[in-house]
Amino acid sequence: MHDRAVRRRRAVLLVLVTASLILLTAYFGETSDGRLHSAQRGALGALSPIQEGASRVLKPFRDLFGWFGDTIDAKDERDRAIKQRDDYYSQLVDAKNRLREAEQKAGLNDRDTTGGMAQFGPVDARVYMHSPSSWYQNLTINKGTDDGVRTGDPVINGAGLVGKVETATGGSAVVTLITNPEFATGGITSDSQEPGTVVPAVGALGDLLFKFVDEAKRVRQREIVYTAGTISSRLESRYPRGIPIGTIDRIDIGDGELDRRIHIKPAADLKRVDMVQVLTEPHADLEGK
């Protein structure tokens, strides 16, 4: 009895496997016009209305389950989109930084060639640290004494004077900005040619004052103030002549001539300095003479 059941089970399996293999071989071997293909098409034609009807009936279930699947897929897609957006954003930031650096470098090159700064031994440097304090306005650059940078060297960018080297190590230097309270230099106006001293306005961060001007009433708004350079051979200026410091922004008229306060807006955008040049030979023009 048991043997008969086993034999029957094996026989059924053998028949089914053989049938499958015959079907497979015959189907695979015949052309698309063959009997099996035709039979399959016929069966498919008969089944398709049932399948279509079932598909319509089951659509709500499909939508329900699809909602779960879509939600999971949507979350996945959202995460991918966020990651992609972040990648693009970082690429954009990188491109913008490169563009800004390129613009600043172009300004510096222009200043070297047309502004005549090439003679002062400019050394290109990248700003890698900005002072977080508004009171101690300085920044750190990636060039130091190994590159010929020394304490007191003027620092410029494409727009104008940025500051001076406060201290320098082998591979880096700290630059004091012109808006730092300790900064002071001689300047001269572009049109009226009035000399004076440029100092930071105490209590007004980012603002400069043009002081000790002999004939202050001749100074006009929107005049450009340049570095005056060395006027006396006994007192050599740190800065070569002709570097733009800023523009006369406004003039406060007081009770008398001495109360006149001339405000200068720095030419360089000191909040966004990425590339600068250190003039390592600031007295080259004097030596030439």
Binding site: R8, R9, V12, L13, L16, V17, A19, S20, L21, I22, L23, L24, T25, Y27, F28, L36, Q40, R41, A43, L44, L47, I50, Q51, A54, S55, L58, F61, R62, F65, G66, F68, G69, I72, D73, D76
Partner: protein, 188 residues
């Protein structure tokens, strides 16, 4: 299982309905880009519930139905599901696993066997496809999804075929307790 015309009709209806649900609903719902596949689960459940012979026949017919419906090479799914249904039946006949999660394990194993077997047959038939991580990922995800669905599919199939199954002594014992019968322990 007692083979009668009623049981054959019920199995046929189950296969048809399951195949239609698979083709109309389940195959269009993807989780992580992969749909579940109820067909191997049904073949496994049929074999596990009704025995190796019924499982093999059910798997063959279901495979044929799927191949016809999808206009695929006839015989491929039949061969694979025959083996899966027969194997599940043999596990039941030889081991008779009583654990409640046995259908889950058998369903997962059956799905894996079906997926790998189907892939191997496709390669043997000359389908040009590289064995890529994507393919392995798809097989793995299908197995995972089917593992989750194995228990409900088994429960539905079992419920549908219950009238044709021989009385299970375990079930009889449980029913006796719940309907007020005394357990052997309380009798002592």
């Amino acid at each position: 299982m007692t083979i009668t015309s009623a049981s054959v009709i019920r199995l046929t209806l189950l296969g048809l309905l399951g195949g239609l649900v698979q083709l109309s609903v389940v195959s269009q719902v993807t989780v992580f880009g992969v749909p579940a596949d109820l067909s191997p689960l049904m073949a496994v459940a049929a074999g596990f519930i009704a025995g190796s012979m019924t499982g093999a026949v059910f798997g063959f017919c279901l495979g044929l139905f799927i191949d016809i419906s999808l206009y695929r090479t006839l015989g491929v799914s039949s061969l694979v599901f025959t083996a899966v249904g027969y194997g599940a039946g043999r596990i039941r006949e030889l081991r008779d696993p009583a654990h409640g999660l046995a259908p889950v394990a058998v369903g997962a194993a059956g799905t894996a066997v079906a997926a790998i077997g189907f892939t191997l047959l496709q390669f043997l038939l000359g389908v040009q496809a590289p064995v890529s991580l994507l393919l392995l990922r798809e097989i793995l995800l299908t197995v995972v999804l089917n593992t989750l669905l194995a228990l409900p599919v088994y429960a539905i199939m079992r419920r549908a075929l219950l009238p044709f199954l021989p009385e299970d002594p375990r079930r009889r014992r449980r029913r006796a307790y719940t309907t007020g019968g005394l357990s052997p322990i309380s009798r002592v």
